[in-house]
Subunit: 365 residues, 2 copies
């Protein structure tokens, strides 16, 4: 029997309780489909800091590097506001991204019809929305050096961050965008600020070259990131795949997620390059929402984004397409049936907690 | 009689035709109120490049430095896509901001009730919206060095941009935010990415310190810029003054502008520090919209953002508060009466061109 090694990193806040619902699914899928998932939990974020003094321990990093896939919850909370910068909860996630080489971050922004009313946008602008933001995840201002605060004396300090992109980094994310567009509606919009940033000039040049050389069948548009952000809130359905850098991708994917009215529902996948020998790619799956410390531990959290992240894992890491489709259909069916956690509660629906929502999805799966 | 020296920099695209409507207003206000405005036009952007080979000539820079206030239109267009980076249309605007020391960029996002329907957001979320985005304008990734593309050989290049902020730069924009909040609803939200950027850490620290020392009467919140962007599209009315850096401010102010449904209506002001001797501050006023090359020269452009920028000039550079109020009221009255350019046309309204809109506002003023 195949065994599939999963590392579960629930993290902080609502991470652990949402992860528990995925563990139910893993048990069900092992039993029914003999999927052979072997999962173990490890620590990341503030909870790792409390246990090991680091946002992820070296031992747990090794587990992540060796796993077939990683499922990540969320990190952070006011409790760790004062910890040293290198040990802050986010550092665990950033180390995972960097060391695992997860350069391609897929953030689908879809609007579940049952939830279109929850969007701040007019219903007709988001109903049926299905766009994909592809964010570069291991470069840019997140990792460039120097990144420092220098004491200049006289009460003055200087903070510095450096945005760096090399041709090969832009080439591989551009290829990923064009490949994904081929499986969708065949359209890529690249966003940067070439009118102000040299990395934007290079980004634009490299995306254009990859397109001309390798993907003439795909429609490519370029937009300045500020104008692109405006178009996104004005009429998101004009897009198919948006490809952009680490920092713009952070902002734009969050805004797109919020537009759908389905923030608590949205998954993401972060993928590395295929191994040259085995063809396997490292991967981490993660809900788009944060750790929500205000409701943590109360059984109120919506587990759907975590479960949908697991569905993406089935699809992208294990090619279990039928199971992924079935799981996504189960989520949609439960929503259509009016089962809701508090964050997406609407008149006429039935409000449930985290565990009951998880059970309902397992039952419908 | 006082004389007030204005430099008008219409720029490219629809800039010149929108500027002509302000010139009518200047004539009217000189005649009726003896305001003593002396205005002259000069070139910036692509049109300056065509005439002088630079996005603004040194002679015109001198005029801008010596003026009591500058009114700027918009720059850029496909015609200049291929010009050298240092001469691209935007370089003229960036030089004006830097050389004039315009560190404080005020971008009000207000929603004219007559236009609330044009927003992509649900009406109740934007109707009556009145928030102010205060963007730092002379620092950050726009001006930090190194900013370059290095050829690494082997078909590889490296693009680099540098975000730099020093304590004094953050202190002065924080003070501006708190001062503005005092004249409004007393609330400031500061946005950065301190979980990823060292400049964000410094930003957060300095804003907090200025607040504690000098403005304990103002309510201060901190948000991560990605979360702040989400809150902005979810429920913009929760904000009063948002203060943020140059790049986040670029994105967030454009998104806020689009949310109002009133993009063609929104002005901005960019202010320098008061001169230590005279107390005068350099200032440039500018519509938020771009140069719209697709409709340029056809008399279709909406001149309201340019006229509202002139109203901000009356208010901030010349303390002509009564005139500024009257001009803003004239704009609102014309909109309420159903006079519309094509971009804001709605059923039951009367569609007019640029000149007719300008004339209507002059008549109502
Ligand atoms: C937690 C934080 C470091 C992270 C980021 O900025 O990338 C988060 O906002 C995200 O989008 O995944
Ligand atoms: C034209 C461009 C350089 C400018 C900027 O990025 O600052 C514009 O987008 C703005 O917001 O004023």
């Amino acid at each position: 029997m195949t065994t599939r090694k999963l590392l579960l990193l629930p993290g902080d806040g609502i991470g652990p309780e949402a992860m528990a619902e995925v563990e139910k699914l893993i048990a069900a899928i092992n039993e029914e489909a003999g999927a052979g998932f072997e999962s173990e939990r490890a620590l990341v974020g503030g909870s790792a800091y409390d246990a090991h003094g680091a946002a992820i321990s070296d031992a747990d990093m090794t587990l992540a590097m060796d796993a077939d896939a990683v499922l990540f919850g969320a990190v952070g909370g006011p409790k760790w506001d004062g910890v040293p910068y290198e040990s802050r909860p986010e550092a665990g996630l950033l180390r995972l991204r960097k060391d695992m080489g997860l350069f391609a971050n897929l953030r689908p922004a879809i609007c579940y019809p049952a939830l279109a009313e929850a969007s701040s946008l007019k219903r007709e602008l988001v109903d049926g929305l299905d766009i994909l933001i592809l964010r570069e995840l291991t470069g840019g201002v997140y990792f460039g050096e120097p990144k420092e605060i220098i004491d200049l004396g006289n009460g003055q300090k200087r903070g510095v961050d450096t945005q760096v992109y090399e041709t090969y980094e832009i080439e591989r994310i551009a290829r990923a965008a064009f490949e994904l567009a081929r499986t969708r509606r065949g359209k890529v919009t690249s966003m940067e600020k070439r009118n102000v940033m040299k990395t934007g000039v290079l980004w634009n040049e490299v995306v254009t070259a990859v397109h001309g050389r390798e993907y003439p069948d795909i429609a490519l548009d370029h937009m300045l990131a500020d104008a692109g952000g405006m178009k996104l809130v004005q009429n998101p359905k004009q897009f198919d795949v948006i490809v952009t850098d680490n920092l713009f991708g952070d902002m734009l994917s969050d805004i797109a997620a919020m537009l759908t009215g389905s923030l608590g529902m949205l998954p993401s996948a972060s993928l590395g390059a295929p191994d040259e020998v085995t063809g396997k790619r490292r991967a981490l799956y993660e809900p788009v929402h944060g750790s929500a410390p205000d409701i943590a531990g109360q059984g109120l959290a919506n587990p759907i984004a975590m479960i949908a992240s697991f569905a993406m894992m089935l699809r992208y890491s294990f090619e279990m397409v039928a199971e992924a489709d079935a799981l996504e259909a189960a989520i949609a069916a439960i929503l259509d049936a009016g089962t809701r956690t508090g964050d997406i509660m609407a008149p006429g629906c039935r409000q449930v907690g985290t565990a009951e929502m998880g059970d309902a999805i397992v039952a419908a799966f």
